[in-house]
């Protein structure tokens, strides 16, 4: 069977040529505007989930006038089924630091923070040593930028950028109203670039290899490659960097166990794709985007249990402040239980689908807005499994 899947080695590339400090030195000789142009040209979009063009984000922040600005690396990695940032942090942290320092140079920030998921504190000791060396190197290079770590408290919602700022400010991690956006008022209400771990590494690598090589990968809507966390019913779970824009079909051929029934693309808040749609599903911003999580289910799995787990997760991890999400998640969870037990008719699932419509447009942040993704895609494709 032909397979268009292309494995790539950019993120973890470990040759002398791309030594982070060298990349940094070289890049800092260029103008900020040039760097931004390269990033925009590369087509790089955020790898944390929302997919916002990184070059534009930096540009907006650069355009803000403020004495104090911040660069924040989002290392909260809380999406179930995602574990690629951990690997990146462990193996190539200097590339992250470099991306942050370049960003600081571009936007005019003197401080960077890495918001590290509480569960990853075991990495902290070795990371700190490397960070101290890097900070010292920055000083030696006369670069006015220093990076610090902040530990998260283990709430999924704190990965949402504005909740992350609240948490960093010592407050309860509740998402804020938008606007204002982080580029205008982020951490401490100052203009802030917040990027995912992986995004920052790509910025380093685009500065190293130029936008052309990056752009040559992927599709017009989804440039470049991305790191995937492959889990579930697969003989070869793990971390893989793949070119974007692949058909799901090829992915399943490579990673499935021959009995794949569905793939959950993008973690709990992503979409569930059933076997019959593998052929015409593209993994990328034009199709189904993903922060990296690919969970494979074979025919032994009950999709009711899968959905139930996700909904339990959301009902617990909703910050609880806004009505559509706090109550909506509970209604969805209790609702499928009621249908399963026969206490509500199957048609009640359609009422619940309408409810996800409201959650999608009326919830305050991405968490509540995206609960409908797994809900509708599982209900629509596996309705009998939910009812009977």
């Amino acid at each position: 069977m032909e397979n268009n899947l292309k494995k790539v080695d950019i993120i973890f590339e470990d040759s002398d040529k791309c030594a982070p400090l060298k990349v940094l030195e070289k890049t800092l000789k260029r103008t900020a505007d040039d760097i931004i142009l390269d990033l925009i040209d590369s087509g790089l979009k955020g790898r944390g989930g929302a997919g916002f063009p990184t070059g534009l984000k930096w540009k907006f922040t650069r355009n803000e006038t403020s004495d104090v600005k911040y660069v924040i690396c989002n290392a909260d990695e809380g999406e179930p089924g995602t574990f690629k940032d951990r690997e990146i942090l462990d193996r190539v942290p200097e590339k992250i630091f470099t991306g942050m320092a370049i960003c600081g140079y571009v936007v005019g920030a003197r401080e960077g923070y890495i918001y590290l998921r509480g569960e990853y504190n075991f990495l902290l000791k070795s990371l700190l040593k490397k960070l101290n060396d890097f900070n010292a190197a920055l000083k030696k290079l006369n670069v006015d930028f220093q990076i610090y770590f902040k530990s998260g408290s283990g709430a999924y919602v704190c990965g949402e950028e504005s909740a992350l700022f609240e948490s960093m400010e010592g407050k309860r991690g509740e998402p804020r109203n938008k606007p204002p956006y982080p580029t205008v008022a982020g951490y401490n209400s100052k203009p802030t670039v917040i990027n995912n771990v992986e995004t920052l590494v790509y910025t380093t690598m685009i500065c190293h290899m130029g936008p052309e090589k990056f752009k040559a990968l992927g599709t017009s809507d989804s440039r470049g490659s991305k790191v995937f966390s492959v889990s579930g019913d697969t003989p070869i779970p793990g971390i893989y960097e793949l070119e974007l824009g692949m058909p799901l079909h090829d992915f399943v051929n490579e990673f499935g166990d021959g009995d794949t029934k569905a793939v959950q693309v993008g973690g709990a808040s992503g979409h569930c794709v059933p076997r019959k749609k593998f052929n015409d599903t593209i993994i990328g911003f034009e199709g189904i985007p993903t922060g990296g999580s690919m969970m494979i289910f074979n025919s032994s799995r009950s999709m009711y249990n899968v959905l139930h787990d996700y909904l339990e997760f959301f009902a617990e991890e909703s910050c609880g402040q806004c009505t559509p999400c706090r109550v909506g998640c509970q209604q969805l969870l209790k609702g499928i239980e009621a249908v399963k037990r026969g206490e509500r008719p199957p048609a009640y699932l359609d009422d619940l689908k309408k409810l996800t419509g409201t959650m999608k447009i009326a919830a305050k942040c991405g968490l509540g807005q995206s609960v409908g993704n797994p809900f509708n895609s599982i209900i629509d494709n596996f309705r009998e499994e939910i009812i009977y």
Binding site: P179, S318, Q321, C322, T323, P324, R326, Q331, A362
Partner: protein, 597 residues
Amino acid sequence: MSKYLVNLKINNMPVAVEEGTTILEAAKRLNFRIPTLCNHPDLTVAGNCRVCVVEVKGARLLAASCATPVSEGMEVFTNSEKVRKARKHIVELLLSEHNADCTKCFKNGHCELQELASEYRIGDHVFLDLVTPESMIQDISSPSIVKDDSKCIRCQRCVRTCAELQGVSALAVVNKGDHQKISTFLNKPLHEVVCTNCGQCINRCPTGALTERNYIEEVWNAIYDPSKFVVVQTAPATRIALGEDLGIPVGERVTGKMVSALKKLGFNKVLDTDFTADLTIMEEGTELLTRLKKALVDKDEKTVLPMMTSCSPGWIKFQEHMYSDMLDNLSTCKSPQQMFGAVAKTYYADKINIKAQDMIVVSIMPCVAKKFECERPEMRDSGYQDVDYVLTTRELAMMIKQAGIDFHKLDEDHYDSILGESSGAAVIFGATGGVMEAALRTAYEIVTGREVPFTNLNIQPVRGMEGIKDATIKIKNVKPEWSFLEGVDLHVAIAHGLANARQLMEKVRRGEAVYHFIEVMGCPGGCLGGGGQPIPTSPEIRKKRAEAIYSEDEDMPIRKSHENPEVLEIYKEFLGEPLSHKSHDLLHTHYKPRKRY
């Protein structure tokens, strides 16, 4: 920087508003009402209930109109199909986690959620009932406040009130997701934490989740009990706000009607806390002058300045928790309510030949902290609990309705005598700065023999709604016995709302400002914005109430406490003079340090 105008359309109607205006505000200008729950004019924006969502052309998401500023060319729809469907869902969701037993709820008829539910005609129960048995266990530990989580819609108005306006943060959001709720330090009962009982959270709770402990039945029972002689006292700020709960416009004074209604309810005597407000001025004014002498002339190290007022029990409890090292700064005077109780069950009971144990003293107060205050063990100087029951202005309105009294049609009546006479100085106790003004009117005259040097006795510098005010009064040409005050600049400061009080205390503690006398009222605006006043409240409403208070003052034949004939009489017949032994026994008290959480 001047703000420029932003042009937008709301429901196809063009409007231009200042940059930074929210969609909600802009819609109001065009008379489009958008429902809200978590939004409140006194508080920062939360944007969490989502009932105010509107459609913005071209946007993927609905926008929370309370939290979204307008932008040029924006096209907003406040009642499109999308909006209505979402809003209805949201109300249904709120009701699904709500113990909606309206008929048993204190807020029945005054509830923002109920109103919204009826507006959207939520009839059939689409969603599952999520109310948990644990949430239905009410916290009734406080004598002032009842907290019922099963009626809470998590709008966090109470949390913001307690933090932003009161600087107390007794309430906070705890847990997340399905376990998220409003709670206290370590989930302790309200009575065991820093809560000051100010009741400001009650005034801003849109539902029945926070209400006053109500004592209406107890008071009816007392009235019906033939063996009891039931006297009622009314605080200054009740007479300018009671009407609001009885269909009368904000800012209209209803003193005479209120007295009339109280008589019809069956109280044996209708008396006035304003009488003891005047008495407070005599005691507190003298205390101030005595302290000034001790501190400035005798250089007595135990006498501390500034002296701080003690009429507001929420402020007192706040001070006991937060600034327990500064309790000696507090005036030892009891609040007017408690002076009244102590005098009623001694002097007054004797006069009218009633045994103190047969007398029930009921207070009508703009305050819920007074419910706590009357139960303090220090407040039994008559040998009995000096004040038996405290009702809020709201509870009185409820009793008037229960009794079938048509408030609009009532004639005006007069307070009974004695303990019913008062001055304009007493009435202004109800507004921030009022106690200060009343004290200055009297103290200045005692010291100089002349009236305060302000037109028509109105001491404008201490009036107004600024959070912290200060003023300096130059004392000149004093009487010989006050020569130590000749030429002295008397520095005074006034704070209302406990967050402002905290700021002022920090300034005092850091020694940044040296004052002789400080007035603090626990509630924003003073008692007129008290936790027991009619709901809703807002800066405009409080401004109107203040205007009513000051006009009541101007209309009083007597404007100074020391000219109240009944006050002069009680000193002559009973107390002797201010700060006498008897005064100390009945009218003064002490305070105790409390924990900081």
